[in-house]
Symmetry: C3
Subunit: 179 residues, 3 copies
Amino acid sequence: MLLCLLDVIMPLFAFLAATRNRYILKYQLGANIVSAMATGSSKSRHAPAGELAVRTERRTQLLDVTAGVAKMVQDSGVQTGICYVYVPHTTAGVLINENADPDVAADIEAALTRMVPKDAGYRHAEGNSDSHIKTALVGSSATIFISGGQLELGRWQGIFFCEFDGPRSRRLRVKIVPD
Amino acid sequence: MLLCLLDVIMPLFAFLAATRNRYILKYQLGANIVSAMATGSSKSRHAPAGELAVRTERRTQLLDVTAGVAKMVQDSGVQTGICYVYVPHTTAGVLINENADPDVAADIEAALTRMVPKDAGYRHAEGNSDSHIKTALVGSSATIFISGGQLELGRWQGIFFCEFDGPRSRRLRVKIVPD
Amino acid sequence: MLLCLLDVIMPLFAFLAATRNRYILKYQLGANIVSAMATGSSKSRHAPAGELAVRTERRTQLLDVTAGVAKMVQDSGVQTGICYVYVPHTTAGVLINENADPDVAADIEAALTRMVPKDAGYRHAEGNSDSHIKTALVGSSATIFISGGQLELGRWQGIFFCEFDGPRSRRLRVKIVPD
């Protein structure tokens, strides 16, 4: 019975904490993350959810959003679980790779453009078929474990929002599911 | 205590609802979805599961299965959670991309075939190594959030079963995990 | 109330079982899997977690880790749920594909190397940009359903750890979430 009550009360606290931090967040997450917003409701017993608003600056750009996602995990109060990130766009994706040397992201951007040229006799009239194809290769979601209240990323790993048809305002949805 | 009971009763109702709709579904999901079947049992307290049977018509074909998956989510009665789709084949995958203009799917099909030619001195004797390689690139599963009892897809997003060695009868497994 | 207690007791049993089997495992999983370790604690009410330590032997190598992951699922005692595998490295990934004919894995290795050459004017100074790019294409995690206490893989499917900058000692994290 006590455990059942904890199931209700703990996410509620997490949600309240997230709400309080909403306005502080935008000053902490770096230039490209416009805002971070918790969108969960008290009806959701288990899984705090939210969204990062990002602003990309180039047509093809891997944007490091690790700090923003990590902050949402910390604010959720979830100690052990899984963090899901999801891109609701069709010309942008998400991937996990090295964020220590920015040349790695640049090399991934260049390699995708080499593999999927901008113009190659595509049928889609909007001129961004290459952006859709790159998204299909990279994927629309990623899964990261949570342990000790933190994203359990490998030593060199970061989370990259992958812009393939920018510059644009974009969103990255985040869902945090405790064990 | 009440919450614990709800945990048992609600998926049971969802399962019964899914069973009742099983025979109706095949007439509603479009030509290529042969059937949709809930395979959960009353033992499973939390996560309704099921399967879409699809029929592909070309060797390489992105087949829009959004309506079929969306119907299973609605039938499950789950309001907030995650929907997992999984392809149990090794020459077919699943991806999320634009389903408004069918030219996008056609461009993705063509680009994958350009990147992974059918014949390129492969070792595997069955003549479908390109199908296995395309599957490795696209992936065997996708994750979509559920909110308000619906798949929380972006405005232009649909779910595509990716046939790379058709035409064939195929299966897409679906698992719906409430928060 | 009884159900709440079961929620606590059952994973505890699973954890104890996993701990007991920890030392036996390394002799059963084949040459390349160095060890398998359950890293969950009794605080974690729901989701047993662990890690496979693998040893790769070539620069680019798809290593079949299905037996190791399957063993961890069995040891967890989880009957229905989801198994997540996660690679904490930036030059190695994980994918699901055919493990019956080893030529399929060899063809995937060769195709990725053809698509992403080792040298192509990359900026990253460590000389392994191709390894990072292949990882971005293949992905860092995979999701497999659990049913009847077993990984619910398709008939021809296996789980491959994808080494792209070996030979090295590597880790594959495993998390098992019951429904």
